[in-house]
């Protein structure tokens, strides 16, 4: 029987040990670990595969390397943490352009300030890049998926679907230009922005720090798709989800905004009293968008009163 990734994770989680008081293990964006002295550290790991997370016909190996680091940075951001250090393992064919791959790894490690401190190289048929990233919380507790309460507002840190639209542009050959290149008018087109969002996604570290400091009760990064990721929050918190709107990136369809994933936008919940817009403005961030509210019915998953499917991208497991 073929099952999905989330069911497989749940099954495996039951086989593994349970955490001591004060730690959070499998089931959130990153693990929360106790450090001698009483502070906490975050730790997460994600793997990307050429042909799955990047397509060699229109993405570079440097983009794959960027994504391996960025996927983890986004998990740290979703806890309200700041990334610290990275380790990266590469399994791949002997003719892999390691210099190009590591250029993207280094670019992301530099951009997100989580330098690569170790790793491993081994041969395999597919190119698989796996990274683990540590993170820190300046003070207080990280934001889990499980803290949302009925009547909490649901916010996103930005518009959704850009990465999915960018991938569609590349697949359909709408554009093949380099990401972020300015057009003849000096403007960067929506297509170019979307392609850059696909190739070099930007995790929302500052938005996560700001949301945590402003009282976020739960948070997750939109990596599988807004519907799927909000369902993770709702499941972990035991609340329902009533969405009023979904802010789409320019050019993206509603489907791409709801299920596209890999945008690394953050979705979080706050009590109605929280001054989220003021806090984001004070931090110099793009305005966040209130998209709905949590409800008391844990089965509710609605957009404008109509049920939405909580499915996004899942890998298959037999």
């Amino acid at each position: 029987m073929m099952t999905g990734e989330f069911a497989a994770i749940e099954r495996l989680r039951a086989r593994l040990a349970t955490p001591p008081e004060g730690e959070v293990w499998i089931g959130d964006d990153a693990a929360v670990l106790l450090v001698p002295g009483g502070s906490v550290m975050l730790l997460c790991a994600d793997a990307v595969v050429l042909g799955v997370h990047a397509d060699e016909s229109f993405d570079g190996l440097d983009d794959l390397g960027w994504k391996a680091v960025a996927a983890n940075v986004s998990d740290i951001a979703a806890m309200g943490g700041r990334p610290g250090r990275s380790v990266v393992t590469v399994a791949g064919p002997a003719d892999t352009d390691l210099d190009l791959l590591y250029e993207g790894i280094r670019d992301a490690a530099t951009f997100f300030a989580c330098p690569v401190v170790g790793g491993d190289l081994t041969n395999a048929r597919d190119l698989v890049v796996s990274a683990a990233v540590t993170g820190s919380i300046a003070s207080g507790r990280p934001v889990l998926r499980s803290g949302a309460r009925p009547a909490d507002e649901i916010w996103v840190s930005g518009r959704l679907g850009a990465a999915a639209f960018g991938l569609r542009c590349l697949r359909e050959g709408i554009a093949t230009g380099a990401p972020g290149v300015a057009g003849p008018t000096g403007e960067t087109s929506a297509t170019e922005v979307a392609i850059a969002a696909h190739r070099r996604p930007r995790p929302s570290v500052e938005a996560g720090l700001t949301a945590r400091a402003t009282g976020a009760t739960s948070m997750i990064d939109v990596s599988d798709g807004l519907g799927a990721d909000l369902a993770h929050i709702a499941d972990a918190s035991g609340v329902g989800v009533s969405l009023e709107m979904v802010p789409r990136a320019e050019g993206a369809t509603l489907e791409e905004a709801m299920a596209g994933g890999e945008d690394y936008v953050l979705v979080f919940t706050v009590p109605p009293s929280a001054r989220i817009e003021d806090a984001f403005a004070a931090a110099g961030l793009d305005a966040p968008v209130r998209i709905g509210a949590c409800t008391a019915d844990p089965r509710e998953r609605t957009l404008c009163g109509r049920p939405f499917a909580p499915r996004g991208w899942e890998h298959s497991w037999g």
Copy 2:
């Protein structure tokens, strides 16, 4: 031009950032990172691939899972550290027996007390299991590869070549029994011991702690082969290596003992005044073996006065 793994690592290391005072990044068994409060943590990552690190025709997926964790535990042991927590990513075909794979991962995480706290599942053609493990140092500093001095003695924590002999037994069909099964006399045969050493290698955590506490000046785990790994110490420390003998596991050839790798025996250097045998006996460990000494000629790599090739297992990179 095809180059080896070590040359590729050196090339990539030059592209990456350099550590701040007090931290050690790429180039040792594990990275040494500063933690708020002044203590250090260790962090390492290794990947294993089905068909490279385990052969499905005579190894189980549980053995591959064990190895992914054990390879990292051995890196922590080689710093004189104690393993803490693990994260594991699995990239593989949809029909992978995840339950069997995770049984081995869990067995190793339990045995070495480094529970799995997170990870990721993704699809790929090859089965690639990548783990990152944290470690701690009770007090003082970890043991690096770079601290050996001329006249330091060279010791190993046990006999070498068992894993390579076990793999040969399986390949040649000398034995196909389950690992560690007692024979008719109630004894475990050398073949069975060797097969167990190949399938379920046991990193030398207690030996590493004891060597560090007894004044080890440098240390590495024998994962690529004694010759290659001692060469890493000699290169990093700027010393020569003069070996007098190599203690072979029962059944292993000298070639298997020198170049076999994956034994997870530790090789370390100490000043001649260190009471290594007493310390190992007091800790209830098998007797360590003194195999030679460091010399002042940084080019020397000799066994019984004759040069040995410092090569062990390396993956290929174009």
